[in-house]
């Protein structure tokens, strides 16, 4: 018997610890299942270290506090679910326009509006990407389990700082609220991911300070001094830069995990909680002698196009399990442009996708 240290932990605690360990010192949020665990942890822990953790009167004020605090130098964080993202959305545009670093966890639950409170889902994948007016890029990372929740949270803060942009952690009720045993070593050892460079893209945010430089931040199209402008060429340059700073660095941002079988015709592609059912399905199929490959996408946005295409070279069929009506499948459809057969495995009935459903889809 090998003695091993394991931890009983849920995703909410892992995310909160990731944030605290990477230097988060400000949190504002509003209660909503299945994200309230993160709120509770942050409000309890932050004052212990001299940080600020508060519950706003709604999601709008919560993210507003975060953006204000960030301009005054805070490493800011908020967490909610789909209904909260609806209320965050106008301020996400503001954070993009002001170039404020901000990390947002969305613990997804099922359906439009109040929906099926509270069942796991992956229905906000497109919403996170497109929730700002103008459609400017954001970064979205999606953990598949509890240790990854911890490590991707830390990564999200580094990316937010480097890009001065909102970065999402796309998770779900199942990952955040289920307590699991995990190896302590998986929590403490950083996965073999490329480091996020320290140097900022553009300028590092220089916050409001007494005796510091004067700063004007604005949500209007602005000059470099932060003054509103109507000059078309300045507006064009600003908008282009906001797009380009992320989209030109897709390769740097791309984070996937491949598990390839030589000569496999079928690749299963998934993310978040559904990627675990994918892994279980792959184990079942291989145990029966099938050749099958798997690709887990951690960096959902910007889409790691090159990385994905690289793994599709000899693939004749892609199976895409996700707990929505095919939101990421439509992106893969765009990438493959009809050259590869796509099969969706989708579930929106409060249950997780089972490994058996994926095996069934494999056998057609």
């Amino acid at each position: 018997m090998n003695s091993e240290r394991r931890e009983m932990v849920d995703g909410a605690a892992a995310i909160a610890r990731g944030a605290l360990d990477v230097g988060c010192n400000f949190f504002a949020g509003y209660p909503i299942t299945p994200a309230s665990g993160i709120l509770t942890h942050m409000l309890r822990e932050l004052p212990k270290i001299g940080g600020t953790g508060i519950q706003g009167e709604d999601e709008i004020s919560s993210i507003g506090h975060c953006i204000g605090a960030a301009t005054a130098g805070a490493t800011a964080f908020t967490a909610s679910s789909g209904p909260g993202l609806s209320l965050y959305s106008e301020n996400i545009g503001l954070a993009i326009m002001m170039e404020v670093p901000l990390v947002i966890t969305i613990s997804q639950r099922l359906g439009p509006s109040t929906g099926a409170a509270t069942a796991a889902a992956q229905g906000d994948i497109q919403f996170m990407r497109w929730c700002n007016s103008g459609g400017y890029p954001v970064i979205v990372l999606s953990p598949t389990n509890i240790p990854e929740s911890y490590h991707l949270t830390k990564r999200a803060f580094k990316l937010a700082k480097r890009f001065r942009n909102p970065v999402f952690i796309a998770t779900d009720k199942e990952t955040v609220m289920t307590t699991e045993s995990v190896a302590v070593s998986e929590m403490t050892e950083t996965p073999d991911w490329p480091e996020v460079p320290d140097e900022p893209v553009g300028e590092l945010l220089d916050p409001y300070r007494v005796n510091g430089k004067i700063h004007h931040y604005t949500g209007s199209s602005h000059t470099e001094e932060g003054h509103i402008t109507k000059d078309p060429s300045i507006i064009a340059d600003l908008n282009e830069r906001l797009r380009e700073k992320i989209e030109s660095r897709v390769d740097e941002l791309s984070l996937v995990k491949s598990d390839l079988d030589d000569g496999a015709d079928t690749l299963i592609l998934s993310y978040g909680i559904s990627a675990r059912s994918m892994e279980a399905a792959v184990n079942q199929l291989r145990a029966k002698g099938e050749k099958v490959s798997a690709l887990t996408v951690y960096s959902l946005w910007p889409i790691p196009e090159k990385k994905i295409l690289e793994y599709l070279k000899d693939v004749k069929r892609i199976i895409i399990p996700e707990m929505n009506h095919g939101q990421y499948r439509q992106e893969i459809e765009r990438l493959t442009n009809g050259t590869i057969e796509l099969v969706g495995v989708n579930r929106v009935d409060t249950f997780l996708i089972t490994p058996e459903e994926i095996v069934e889809a494999y056998h057609g």
Binding site: R5, M8, G68, T179, T354
Partner: protein, 440 residues
């Protein structure tokens, strides 16, 4: 810091103001500048946070720090800035429109008494978008959106701040000579400060409603909305209160994890999915935690989901535990291997799951809960004779003990060790007593 003071805090290179002829906004901005001058503030000590509307054009006229955000949300940004850096003086410039759409933020900032100063440029309509009616538009006013006269009662902005606990609340007009002094007082108040400053919108409201300075003063009288200081309290500010929170919290240890070291072993060779189904108050989830922890102590891997209604102390309580020799990938349960029914609420809640079980499945039931619609084998929970008096209060712990004894997934000692490691000493003592009944 008087030596840091400037003659003006207006960025003169950006003048003249873009406001319409006769608009009072420029006057109020001048009063803000005069106040900063009188206070001798370093421009880097001050953040001007502007809302949307004509007043939202103001940020560029200041040589201080500035923040221009979204409509109605200015107070939320200002609070965030002040929370992060209490050394900054944070002043919000907002219109009556912003106070309408952001009323919720205004009244909650007053409640928390956060140390920001809110100057309301209240000109009774939406000037920037063509003079539509706002939250403060007087009754019967003609605006593009109230062609036959407005019918809504006007919002009393200062009154709202006052009744919601705002530390410093005043009403003024843009024509008041002492406005800079009033702003000084507001900015030096330790807590939420608001001055509701009444103004004229010469482009729209004034011309459509014959509302000049004299009419405005008459309106003030007729509404019993007197000008001057309305409230000044010594209630401590959010910043002071939160400092106390930090001080108390700093004495506590940071959150830790529940680490379990493998001490026992198990022969389990495939995953097993167990559902405990009972009622609120039966500590069902706690029993689920015990099973998961005992399995973990025995080198197995686990996941534990809990399901209960949003109300507490009533209705069902369900724990789903997956125990596996390999790390759990799929944590869902649609066809349990084992179900334990300890209350009718739980039995009914998981009827769909028990029905899905096949004949290899095992359903354990407490008295009166057998005979469910399922192909699974159904067996009574036969607690030791000596434990009968524990059944009413501690049925979930007994069930955990019984399942451990019957299923032999891990040693009974692992369950006892789990009780010692994860439960509070008082509860652990009770549960170890309960489990002692199984010893023989």
């Amino acid at each position: 810091m008087a030596e840091m003071g400037l003659d003006t805090y207006i960025a003169e290179e950006n003048l003249p103001y873009e406001f319409c002829p006769g608009c009072s906004h420029g006057k109020v901005l001048g009063a803000v500048s005069d106040s900063l001058k009188q206070q001798g503030l370093d421009p880097t000590e001050v953040v001007i946070v502007t809302d949307i509307g004509c007043v939202g054009l103001s940020d560029k006229y200041f040589v201080t720090h500035a923040f221009h955000g979204l409509h109605g949300r200015a107070i939320t940004y200002a609070s965030g800035i002040k929370m992060q850096n209490p050394d900054l003086k944070v002043v919000v410039l907002i219109g009556d429109g912003g106070c309408g759409i952001g009323g919720h933020h205004l009244l909650n900032a007053a409640r928390s008494n956060t140390d920001v100063t809110v100057l309301v440029f209240n000109n009774f309509n939406f000037g920037m978008t063509g003079g539509q009616h706002s939250a403060t538009t007087p009754l019967d006013s003609i605006t593009p959106t109230t062609s036959f006269g407005s019918t809504d009662a006007p919002m009393d902005i200062a009154g709202t701040a006052k009744v919601n606990g705002g530390g410093f609340v005043a009403r003024a007009t843009a024509f008041d000579k002492n406005l800079p002094e009033m702003i000084n007082k507001a900015m030096n108040h330790d807590g939420f400060a608001l001055i509701d400053i009444w103004e004229l919108c010469t482009a729209y409201y004034v011309v459509r409603n014959d509302f000049g300075r004299k009419e405005m003063m008459n309106y003030m009288d007729s509404m019993n909305m007197e000008s001057g200081l309305l409230q000044e309290t010594d209630r401590s500010s959010f910043q002071t209160n939160y400092k106390n929170v930090q001080e108390q919290a700093s004495k506590q240890k940071p959150m830790g994890g529940l680490i379990l070291e493998t001490k026992f072993s198990s022969n389990l060779d495939k995953p097993i999915r167990i559902v405990l189904a009972g009622a609120a108050g039966q500590k069902v989830v706690s029993a689920g935690n015990l099973l998961a922890s005992a399995a973990t102590l025995s080198g197995l891997w686990t996941s534990r989901r809990a399901d209960f209604p949003i109300t507490i102390q009533t209705g069902f309580s369900v724990a789903e535990v997956v125990i596996s020799p390999e790390p759990v990938l799929y944590s869902g349960v649609i066809k349990p291997d084992v179900a334990a029914l300890v209350a009718p609420e739980g039995r009914d809640k998981i009827a769909r799951l028990t029905k899905a079980m096949d004949k290899t499945g095992l359903i354990y039931f407490s008295e009166g809960l057998g005979n469910v619609d399922s192909k699974a084998k159904q067996l009574p929970l036969l607690f030791p004779e000596s434990a009968q008096k524990e059944v009413r209060k501690n049925i979930s712990a007994l069930t955990a003990g019984y399942l451990t004894q019957e299923l032999r997934l891990f040693p009974f000692e692992a369950l006892q060790e789990a009780v010692r490691l994860i439960q509070k000493p008082k509860i652990a003592e009770i549960n170890l007593g309960v489990l002692a009944h199984f010893k023989s």
